[in-house]
Symmetry: C2
Subunit: 299 residues, 2 copies
């Protein structure tokens, strides 16, 4: 949970609420309650945002508030292609000393989503769970492959599902072919792998099975910040709601995640995620069905 | 119809048979006969290739054989990502004076595929057709946008369907957004637009409808030469076989084209296309169904 200041070809924002856990919680809260949040913020994180999250069924007992420090702050500028961006400012602030504690009341969590942080920090959360959750998913990024690869390899052994983008999958394995990279990652620990390809959709790998979810072709991507976290939040929310961790159900959940991500990019920050209704979500899922559905006889 | 010499990270070939029309014909001949070919070759184009094409139902009356010149020759080297390549040699040879003539026996063709050539040459073929075909499709490339844009714009007014890749769609319209680029192209003449995205699949646009066909995730792309032409050939072959130019049927035909392209890249040049059976094609189409198929209840 953090602040971002974002500049895109369409405009710019002052400091607005952001952060992986914020996006995941807003997306997942459409599908089930409670969401049990673990994060750290400073004295400056807005009361009204906390209240809004609570209203949506997000429990905040695991959110540490540091009274004399500021929240994490990131500022960046997207290029015209919206796939690359320059980081202008990264102020770690409270995140420099983040040592997440799993509250007793969270101990029965069945579905755990580990946001992108140091793999040791991610592993410490897993180790605090007294009962093995049904599904542990994690996100990571190229930075940890560069500075903490042995830790990342260790953490990967303890998770069920990994989210990475295509460049990260290649970097993690040294394989250029996405299919070969996926096979290598499935040997490293996770039984499920989701490779995110931005405007080109996402691939789900499990054993020898593969599923290709498209991204919705959009006229404009207004602000991609948080789209990956929103995708993960929608995915995990839908999996947790159904309580079904089969490959078939993960296919559905990826479509749900993709639908949520397609909303996220329509406005700055999590703005759009706070507006969408169940009807909006169902209409968007219907659009995905129409986008890829075909009937074919053998030739 | 031409010669290529190809170098990829997996190996290299001497001069082998290639050319847009060759790939289109091999792919389309799986679905219907006859294919009525128009092209130009030199004295060096192999007799046995002509015989093989004939055996597959490809009529060659429209193929001019120039007795004292060589066939078009291209040589290139693919980079590791297989998406970019360096051209090493381009010898136009017979292609420098190509002035395609539509034989009288081809006049009833209902489905016309115009390969990537100067847009004036493409238009001359359209103008020779005494009866308007049911569907005229064309391919083009960035080069013609740079050197013959007014001619390209004129030719586009006379075709029903355009094949381009994503970079070409952007260049043709000056729109970065693929959806905006597609809308602009549909204002330029074609009623249908297929945007090819290589390993990321293809998009079909028609009015406000859009369809997303995935590419099959492959362990290795051995040689991408001719994949786009094979895709077009499979697509046109399937459309022509069914005689149905509805959006629904074009969706099926894109899947068929994608299946054919996925074979093409498995070996050098058109080698693999000559081997595949009806059973192979149906098995591959089934893989595409499994790749994108999902069932979802509303959330």
């Amino acid at each position: 949970m953090a602040f971002d200041a974002i500049e895109t070809p369409f405009g710019k924002t002052d400091k607005i609420v952001g952060g992986s856990a914020t996006y995941v919680a807003y997306a997942a809260s459409n599908f089930l309650k409670p969401i049990q949040q673990i994060s750290i913020v400073g004295y400056d994180f807005p009361e009204e945002e906390m209240a809004e999250l609570k209203r949506r069924g997000v429990q905040l007992e695991g959110v540490e508030i540091v009274p004399d420090k500021k929240s994490f702050f990131w500022s960046g500028r997207y290029h015209e292609d919206m796939n690359s961006r320059d980081t202008l400012v990264t102020d770690l602030n409270v995140l420099a000393d983040f040592n997440p504690q799993v509250p007793e009341s969270y101990q029965n969590a069945e579905f755990v989503m580990l946001g992108n942080l140091h793999p040791k920090t991610q592993l410490s959360v897993i180790n605090q769970m007294k009962k093995r959750p049904a599904l542990i998913a994690m996100d990571t990024m190229n930075f940890w492959m560069e500075v903490a690869m042995p830790d990342l390899e260790e953490t990967l052994k303890h998770v069920d599902l990994l989210f990475v983008n295509d460049a990260e999958a290649r970097q993690l394995t040294g394989q250029y072919s996405i299919v070969k990279a996926a096979k290598a990652i499935l040997q490293m620990g996770p039984k499920f792998l989701i490779i995110k390809k931005g405007e080109h959709g996402a691939l789900l790998f499990h054993g020898n099975d593969v599923f290709y979810a498209p991204a919705l072709p959009l006229e404009d991507v207004f602000d991609p910040t948080g789209a990956g976290d929103t995708f993960a939040g929608g995915f995990m929310g839908h999996v947790a709601k159904s309580g079904d961790i089969s490959f078939e159900n993960m296919k559905r959940s990826i479509i749900v995640g993709s639908a949520m991500a397609s909303f996220c990019v329509e406005k700055f920050g999590p703005t759009r995620l706070k507006e969408v209704s169940e009807g909006d979500i169902n209409a968007r899922i219907q659009q995905f069905k129409e986008l890829v559905n075909f009937e074919i006889e053998l030739v």
